[in-house]
Subunit: 237 residues, 2 copies
DNA sequence: CTAGCTCAGTTGGTTAGAGCAGCTGACTCT
DNA sequence: AGAGTCAGCTGCTCTAACCAACTGAGCTAG
C-alpha cells in the first residue's frame, strides 16, 4: 500500500504535467485526497524525496523535485564504499563505467564542438597548469570536474551531462575518502591537453585513444597503493 | 535531523561491514540505539529503501539491500516520462546515453570475448530470427535485453552490467508506454547479428560501427511517429 | 513615510500510544 | 510422524498532540 501511495503521488505529478518547482498539495490535503493518514503520506513523500522526485522544504511546502541525478550519486557512493570495504574492486568498476561513457561520447564530439567551448576548455587546461605549478602542486578536483563537464556540454543532452557528473562525483568522493591516490600533476595536465587537442583537430581515433590513456592512467594510480584498507576508517558521508 | 538519521544507519552498515542480506536491528531496537521515535526511524528506513540500501520485509525484518540499480531505473523512468510529457526529448537523451555506454564498451570486447558467451549470443540471435518469423512477427523485448546483457557479461563488471540493464529497462518502459514504435524485425535481427559477427572477428572498428548503426536505427524509428503525445494517457507505473 | 520588528498562521518535523497484518516456529492434536 | 493451530515476533497504519521553520501582515520606531 505504501508502494501504491508513491505511485499515486507520481501519477498526480505526471497527469497534471507539473514542472520542476511546482508546489504540491500540503500534507493535510494529500491526506484527504488520498484517504490515508498523515504518517503514510509522509513516508511516501520521504521515499519520493530520496529518489529526487519531490523536494520538501520545512515550513514552506512540498514541491516537484529538480529531477537531478543527485540521489543516484548518493546511492552509487554508498554502494561503492560498501563494496570497497568488503574487498570488491567497486571503485575500479566505477572508473570503467566512466571510461565507457566518455569513450563512447568523444567520437561524436570531435569536429563538432563549438569554438566557444574549445576556448573554455583551453582556459581550464591553463588553470590546471597553474595549479600544478602552484603551491598545492596538484590539480584541483573541481578543475578536473569542470573540464569533463565542459567537454560534453555541446551535445545538448542534459541527462548525459548529469549522469556523467554523478559518476564523477561518486568516484571522487570514494577516492578521496578511501584511498590515497598519488598524483602526477604534470601527467594530468598533459593528458587533458592531449584530449583537447585531439578533439580540436577532429581526429576521432586520436581523441578516443587520449581518453582511454587518461583513464588508464587513473586506473594505474588506483592500483598502485594497494587500496589502503584501513581497519575502521569511520565512514562519515 | 531525518537526514542525519539516514547517515547514521548507513554508517552502521558500513562500519560493521554488513553484506547484502544481513539482518538489521528491528525498529524498536533502532529507536533505542538512535534515540528517536519509531516514526522517524521508519521514515529514514523508507528513504533508504527507496535508494535500495535496505530491504524491508513485512512481518520478517529489515535487511541490508541488494545494492542493485533498481531504484535508479524507477527514478530514471519517472524523469524520462515527466520530461516527455513536458515536450522534452528525454527519451532520445536516454537512448544517446545507452549508445554512449555500449559504444564505449564494445572496443574492449572485440577479441576478448569467451567462446561460451559467443555461443550464447548466437543462440539469442537465432531466437530473434525465430520470433521475427513467428506469429508475433516481432522480436520479443526480453530477447533483445538478454542479448545486450550477455554481450558485456564477460567484462566481469557487475556495476556496468546493472547500469546498462537499468538504462535498458527505463528506456523500454517509457517507449512501450508512451510511443508506438514501428518495428522491422528483419532489420533488428540483421543488426544484432552484425554486432555479434564483428565482435567475433575481433574487428574493433566494425563492432563500434555496428553498435552505432543499431542505435541509429532505433533513433530513426523513435522520431518517425512524431512522438505520439496523447492528451491524457493515464500514467500507471 | 519607510525600515525594521513582531507576531499570528501555515507548513513540515517529531513524538507517543494503540491496534492491525504478515510471517515464523513451537506446540498440539490427529 | 505429520498437519493444523496459536503465540510471539516483525513491520504497517492510524490518531492526536506538540515542536520548529518559514511567510506575510501589521505594528512600531526612526
Amino acid at each position: 500500500m505504501a508502494r501504491d501511495l508513491q505511485e499515486r503521488i507520481k501519477k498526480l505529478i505526471i497527469d497534471q504535467r507539473l514542472p520542476s518547482g511546482s508546489p504540491l498539495p500540503t500534507e493535510p490535503e494529500l491526506m484527504e485526497r488520498l484517504g490515508v493518514s498523515r504518517n503514510s503520506v509522509r513516508e511516501a513523500l520521504k521515499a519520493l524525496q530520496a529518489m529526487g522526485i519531490v523536494e520538501i522544504r520545512h515550513g514552506f511546502g512540498t514541491y516537484v523535485g529538480p529531477m537531478s541525478m543527485a540521489p543516484m550519486i548518493e546511492g552509487l557512493t554508498f554502494r561503492t564504499v560498501a563494496g570497497h570495504y568488503r574487498g570488491e574492486d567497486s571503485l575500479l568498476q566505477l572508473l570503467e563505467l566512466r571510461e565507457a561513457v566518455e569513450a563512447g561520447l568523444i567520437a561524436r564530439l570531435a569536429g563538432s564542438i563549438p569554438a566557444a567551448d574549445l576556448a573554455d576548455l583551453d582556459a581550464l587546461v591553463d588553470r590546471m597548469d597553474a595549479e600544478a605549478a602552484g603551491p598545492a602542486g596538484a590539480v584541483r578536483a573541481e578543475t578536473d570536474r569542470a573540464f569533463h563537464a565542459a567537454l560534453y556540454r555541446c551535445l545538448g543532452n542534459r541527462l548525459l551531462s548529469e549522469v556523467m557528473e554523478a559518476f564523477w562525483d561518486a568516484f571522487h568522493k570514494v577516492r578521496t575518502d578511501l584511498v590515497d591516490v598519488p598524483q602526477d600533476p604534470k601527467v594530468t595536465c598533459r593528458q587533458h591537453r592531449e584530449i583537447l587537442d585531439a578533439v580540436r583537430s577532429s581526429d576521432v581515433l586520436r581523441a578516443e585513444r587520449a581518453i582511454r590513456e587518461h583513464f588508464g592512467n587513473i586506473r594505474t594510480r588506483l592500483n598502485a597503493p594497494a587500496s589502503t584498507a584501513l581497519p575502521h576508517p569511520s565512514y562519515d558521508r
